[in-house]
């Protein structure tokens, strides 16, 4: 499907760091529909267009897309760009797609949000409420001032707020909330990696089945659960770069202005292959053989490191 032109109709500051955008069609054609949990990928302009995924907060069947974006300190460009937009501006996006859909077979939903992870969860809560299905929504954050949509969540009778204000004992009590897994009960969570990891681990220990656990990290489905940042030293370029969980080695190289050779960005083609000189590689490609990996071949477009530092020849 071809990309969409969207106009920024309205921008509201929800918190000092989070702004809400309402995006509408630039012509008379209706916007493509979506289901709860869906996201749109915005095209972040630049020398090379990058796509950044943002969850849709509004209910399906409306004539706009609502997203909320938090300005990230270590932004790879996406949130900084969104925060530079003004009303009336036209942007490009991919039509909505959903990698986080609500299960058809569930009769009760436990929705858990951490911080800006509220966006898909609120979209789901709004839709579930409209359709009369049963659910509970748990929303955790550090301070009320930093939490978007707090008033709306408070008004939902199914909601529970977990605000720490620096007191860790006020954290989301996964063990008690999840104590009683039921056959038709599904868990949905979106939030920081650490929170998502620990809640899922807790759920599994409490007997939740894997196919009843649904999660999404902030940046769409690109990340693998539990990814940690690591440093990569590029020998030929003479640069040390930090690769955050939502980035690849290739991403940070491009952001640093390097001009590496690459093609598929999926670990298929082998065009970007580099040699590991030091460190432990965490291979995620489907191109290289075990023999090649043992000889140090590495796909910077997808693979990561299990060591804190990786040295590549490039």
């Amino acid at each position: 499907m071809s990309s969409l032109s969207l106009m920024v109709r309205q921008i509201d500051s929800l918190t000092p760091r989070i702004r809400r955008l309402l995006l509408v069609s630039t012509d008379s054609r209706p916007l493509p529909t979506f289901t709860p949990g869906a996201h749109v990928e915005l095209h972040v302009p630049g020398e090379r267009i990058q796509r950044r995924a943002y969850s849709l907060v509004n209910e399906p069947g409306t004539d706009y897309y609502e997203i909320a974006v938090q300005l990230e300190e270590n932004s790879s460009g996406g949130s900084r760009w969104v925060h530079s937009l003004s009303e009336g501006q036209v942007i490009q996006a991919e039509p909505p797609s959903n990698q986080f859909p609500l299960s058809d077979s569930a009769d009760h939903f436990v929705l858990i949000a951490g911080g800006i992870g509220i966006t898909p969860m609120l979209g789901m809560a709004r839709a579930l409420k409209s359709s009369g299905k049963t659910f509970s929504l748990h929303y955790s954050g550090r301070t009320p001032e930093s939490m978007a949509y707090l008033d709306e969540v408070k008004k939902l009778e199914q909601s529970n707020l977990w605000i720490t204000n620096g007191n860790s004992s006020k954290r989301f009590p996964a063990r008690s909330v999840l104590a009683d897994p039921k056959i038709a009960q599904h868990l949905y969570i979106c939030g920081p990696n650490q929170m998502v990891n620990s809640v899922l681990q807790e759920a599994r220990e409490l007997g939740w089945k894997d196919d009843h656990l649904h999660y999404e990290v902030f940046t769409g489905a690109l990340e693998q659960l539990g990814d940690k940042p690591f440093d990569v030293f590029l020998k030929e370029s003479g640069l040390t770069l930090t690769v955050n969980p939502d980035q690849t080695v290739l991403d940070v190289m491009l952001e640093a202005g390097l001009d590496p050779m690459f093609d598929c960005r999926r670990g298929d083609c082998g065009v970007c292959v580099a040699q590991v000189l030091e460190g432990e590689a965490d291979h995620r490609d489907i191109c290289l053989s075990e023999r090649e990996r043992s000889l140090g071949s590495f796909c910077p477009c997808v693979s990561r490191a299990t060591s804190e530092r990786l040295v590549l020849d490039i």
Partner: protein, 443 residues
């Protein structure tokens, strides 16, 4: 059956050639091997591939090749074939492949010098003889690639004389074309006209220095130009260049035809120092060159009054009006002519405008002049397919040319020296003894 060298040699006499050299598909195939498989052939101009990854496709004989600018700035000429299944890697035309070639069939990738880069799911080759470093898995480069003042040539033979030796004295035409720029550089600008001719490739070469055809074949376009000039009361440039073919025979007789080894040559009018100041455009050009080269040298450059040059196997540069008609044989009776137009870097825009006018009026598919030629080439092809005779005459001034160390010069501008010279080269390439000797020499 492949003819023997003796049989081939018998087709070429001092003053005539057997018509089968234009009509026999077996000979055409041999030409592709023995001429185009060995001679230095013009591939394209460096300005057609300015940036890394830029490519231009063309043919050396019947071989599809791609000229590409490498990441190191070098210009590579590679056969347009993926070593995996043999697919042509890039479509015909010009473009940019980025940092590497990627086959549209299975995404095998190659660096800009043709070296194997990768293949998807390489793990599937584990335990096989697949070897990215083995030549079988890389694109093949044409054996020798060299360039002269931006003009890129390639030879499919790894042995033989170098480019400068091959070009011999005709290299001065390339020099004169480039020297018409105050910085000594030209570039291909604008699109390329392509004209397919229903005739054998050699007839075009012969016609380039055939002064006896001009006022006959081009009578209609000459008459049209003269009628129009009379009607409007002046002879502007676009009519003047059409009118030129109507010069009387004694004009052509005074021209000088120069023939060089390997079939090359040019047609030159007497050096004309006044050429530098003949009209507004020439004067502007002259003023511009004077600043770069001084008055004397500038008169020398603009006074060099060459009409068509022949670089045998490649085509015909026109130095005064900055064109290159590149001649690509397609089959025994089909020829593709690609017409490139050059801009002299640093020269006034009017000089390039004039080159464009010349391309449009004389060389383009919609020209009033070239269709006259294309028609008679096709007539030659068709006539030679009949049983109405075996030999083609090139008797005019045969035996009267002045032999020089590196070729010959005509005593009369209507001499068929250029044809005789081209067929001498043809015979040299086509009789394998020479080639065998060269390969022994190389070994």
């Amino acid at each position: 059956m492949i003819p023997t060298n003796e049989q081939i040699a018998e087709l070429i006499r001092e003053d005539s050639v057997h018509k089968s050299v234009y009509t026999d598909p077996v000979l055409f195939k041999l030409e592709m091997e023995r001429i185009y498989g060995h001679a230095w052939i013009y591939v394209g101009h460096k300005s057609q591939v300015k940036n890394s990854g830029d490519y231009h496709t063309t043919r050396i004989g019947e071989q599809d090749v791609v000229m590409v600018r490498g990441s190191d700035g070098a210009v590579n000429v590679l056969y347009n074939r993926c070593p995996h299944k043999g697919a042509k890697l890039v479509a015909d035309g010009d473009g940019n492949v980025g940092k590497f070639f990627r086959c549209p069939y299975h995404a095998w990738t190659y660096k800009l010098d043709g070296q194997h880069l990768s293949a998807p799911l390489k793990s599937g080759f584990e335990g096989t003889c697949y070897d990215p470093k083995h030549a079988d898995f890389s694109m093949v480069s044409v054996a020798r690639v060299d360039s002269y003042r931006g003009f890129v040539f390639a030879s499919q033979a790894s042995y033989g004389e170098d480019l400068k030796t091959f070009l011999g004295g005709v290299i001065t035409s390339i020099d004169n074309l480039c020297d018409r720029s105050p910085v000594g550089e030209v570039e291909v600008v604008g699109g390329i006209f392509r004209v397919q001719q229903r005739s054998n490739w050699k007839v075009f070469y012969e016609n380039l220095h055939d002064t006896m055809h001009a006022r006959v074949t081009h009578e209609s376009s000459v008459d049209a130009a003269r009628g129009e000039a009379e009607a409007i009361g002046e002879m502007p440039f676009e009519l003047l260049i059409m009118d030129g073919n109507g010069e009387p025979y004694d004009f052509w007789e005074k021209l000088e035809l120069r023939a060089y080894t390997n079939g090359h040559g040019y047609m030159e009018a007497i050096f004309d120092p006044a050429a530098a100041e003949r009209d507004v455009v020439s004067r502007e050009h002259f003023e511009c060159l004077k600043k770069a080269y001084g008055e004397e040298r500038s008169r020398e450059i603009l006074g060099m009054n060459r009409h068509n040059t022949v670089i045998y196997g490649s085509g015909s540069p026109h130095t005064v009006f900055m064109q290159f008609r590149v001649i690509r044989p397609l089959s025994v009776d089909r020829t593709m002519v690609e017409i490139q137009t050059f801009r002299c870097k640093g020269a006034p825009d009017s000089v390039f405008d004039r080159a464009l006018t010349y391309a449009n009026v004389i060389n383009s598919p919609s020209s009033n002049v070239m269709p006259d030629d294309v028609e008679v080439y096709a007539r030659c092809q068709e006539g030679n397919m009949t049983r109405g005779g075996e030999w083609i005459s090139m008797h005019r001034y045969a035996g009267k040319d002045i032999t020089l160390e590196d070729g010959a010069i005509s005593t009369n501008g209507t001499s068929e020296l250029p044809m005789r010279n081209q067929f001498a080269a043809w015979k040299k390439f086509m009789t394998a003894t020479i080639i065998a000797k060269e390969s022994t020499h190389a070994a």
